[in-house]
Homo-oligomer: 403 residues x 2
């Protein structure tokens, strides 16, 4: 039988993930700046394995888990967010749901709020897998440009003067892909706009604790306070291990009932066995020390890549914006007209991988000369070699205009 006629509109609205495709293209032996994954050698394996073994003692975790997720971890998160001043005073564990990574939380919100034709604000550029979920549900994306201080309120206001949006999706710290961090001043201005124009804010914050310099900032979630206008997403993927598939969303009481009903219809509940292991790990470990260790290594990797690219590629028209944390270095290649063709050339001919920036833009045709390097998995030595290959790829690229 022919299946083409059976797929729904949603299936027609989405395509494959470009990041997975580029990662495959460069292959396992290449030097890859493609995926925003934590470095495997920084996953606290011993601690997590011990935590798993401890969790296995609880026989009840082999039966059906509760719909919102493992209660002790939800309590831990609620207390942690409060003690870090990330949450308003009303937050309690009943307003925390554990999800299959951040993507599960992004999707849960998409499933609960987006109707086809709804307008959704996102940063431009932004995280493409969030766009997949939003576009799948039929939303129309309204892009809001960012600068080094985050999304630009004046640009947001200009959009809102003409359109009515349902929510604004924003990656607040060391944004994927641009690396920008939203200042608290900007957050206050954008919250004002949210109140004025009656939209809510979906705050995605997976990189918060990977800050290499500067001072921690506030969250929209806490700043909104009793206005309760924000849903906050966190994740253990970047700071513990992506393989535990454990993220969360924290939300106002007014959305709990519907989020739980939708969650049940999606999957009943994810495994409490992995959530239990995350909880046991967090209870035993010195989290501050663990995070300091990550920051030390990732900072060194960021600096090494910046130096290597500046040394070997400064003559090539590449300009970089250096983030204060996170996994991504964002660049512009002056005069580059087809970055995707160049990326394929570099991956196949020189075995160096990166992501053409245009895939992070909600609007087709934007960001053609931009480029994203993910540095978390790349040692300083590999960055030297990767930068050399990048320059060679540029020099040998038949269609190069990046000079």
């Amino acid at each position: 039988m022919q299946w083409e006629g059976f797929f729904n509109l949603k299936a027609g609205r989405i395509g494959p993930s470009i990041i997975a495709e580029m990662a495959r293209m460069v292959g396992p032996d290449g030097i890859s700046f493609t995926s925003g994954e934590p470095s495997a050698d920084l996953i606290p394996l011993e601690g997590l394995k011990a935590a798993f073994k401890k969790t296995l003692r609880d026989d009840s975790l082999f039966s059906y888990p509760s719909t919102p997720g493992y209660p002790p971890l939800r309590e831990w998160i609620s207390e942690w967010m409060s003690s870090e001043n990330l949450a308003p005073g009303w937050l309690d564990p009943s307003c925390v749901i554990l999800t299959n990574g951040s993507q599960g939380a992004v999707n849960l919100v998409a499933e609960t709020f987006i109707d086809p034709g709804d307008l959704v604000l996102t940063e431009s550029p932004t995280y493409p897998e969030a766009l997949l979920a939003f576009q799948r549900e039929g939303s129309v994306i309204l892009p809001v440009p960012v600068d080094e201080e985050g999304p630009i309120p004046e640009a947001l206001e200009e959009v809102l003067a003409r359109r009515k949006a349902k929510f604004f999706y924003t990656v607040v710290n060391f944004q994927n892909p641009s690396g920008c961090t939203t200042s608290d001043r900007r957050k206050a201005a954008i919250l004002d706009l949210a109140r004025k124009h009656a939209f809510f804010i979906l705050e995605d914050d997976p990189y918060r604790y990977l800050r290499y310099e500067g001072k921690p900032n506030r969250s929209y979630f806490e700043m909104a306070g009793d206005d309760q206008r924000v849903i906050y997403l966190g994740s253990f993927s970047k700071i513990l291990a992506p393989g535990v598939r454990c993220g969360w969303c924290a939300f106002p009481p007014g959305v709990r009932k519907k989020l739980l009903e939708i969650r049940l219809s999606l999957e009943l509940c994810p495994p409490a066995l992995t959530q239990g292991a995350v909880f046991e790990f967090l209870r035993e470990c010195d989290l501050e020390e663990h995070l300091e260790g990550l920051v030390r290594v990732y900072r060194t990797r960021r600096d090494a890549l910046v130096r290597a690219l500046q040394d070997s590629a400064s003559s090539t028209g590449l300009s970089l914006s250096v983030p204060q944390g996170g996994f991504f270095l964002w660049g512009t290649c002056r005069g580059m007209r087809d970055m995707f063709a160049f990326a394929k050339h570099a991956a196949l001919e020189k075995k160096v991988g990166f992501i053409p920036g245009r895939f992070f833009y909600p609007t087709v045709g934007e960001g053609e000369d931009t480029i994203r390097f993910a540095f978390a998995k790349v040692t300083p030595e590999q960055s030297m070699e990767g930068s050399r290959r990048f320059r060679e790829a540029l020099e040998s690229f038949p269609g190069r205009h990046c000079l």
Copy 2:
């Protein structure tokens, strides 16, 4: 802020799970025939824990898993289904995706195929959490009545004479809730209708290996052969442990690409750590012996409940249909006009829980006098006591008409 105006149409289309609600109502100290859960004492805990510990040695499982799921388990399932004659010759591991339980697979299909207004055929009565996913996506349900041999082809044909359906969702063995098993003759007739009327079949088969008598039957998936008109759903929740949250769907190559794109947008991928543990368990265990052990105990429990209800409740107008396997005993209470009121009365006053059958019917107003008892978790002694309470509840029910 007021959230009411922000929810989408999907959120408006679904409500809470009645099964979870009834389970809560009877409380942990009551005797509960409510949830279709396996018995905790039949979960092979030692084997699963050993398998988990072995799985933990593979450091790579702490990084991002592959989108379709842990490859060795997908291979194992593909080979198993083939060796059990459940799969057509073309099945290979690339046509198997691991999901967060069966519900994850039901949802994946709903997300990939249903547009609002699409017509979906289901058995009547049927599994209500599947209805949640289908209705959430805006499908209109066309009910097909069942008898002891499964869905009635003539009734199906009558529906199809007037309507164009996209797919038929069917629980083929020891159906939840009615306990009926679709005969191979019925499957052949329904496959003919599927070809003639151009719909596909979503075959949900979580109870296949819990057969207490009679001979195993064929699957739609295998019977369709090269016509490739069937998506098959399996699960380890009922035969190993629901807490591993591991189900799967097996499907024709023509749907692979879109299923994977949708899956990525939903959750990236579920944890390979739990999938790996399932694989290690299956590799080490004598599955046949394990399943025989389950069958022995569950058969005894089914028989004990049937006997107890017939002894204590035959004078009450309750008639039962005894299933050849699975978890559910389905009954009709002659003259009962408000089974939900009676169920609440029984749960609160007599501490015995069961599910009013009407919640399994896609059409409001049907099955008012029907009732589902889940017996898997209930020992013979508890069944005696539960049946006694059931009769007492009936006798003390102010609105009783079941005589």
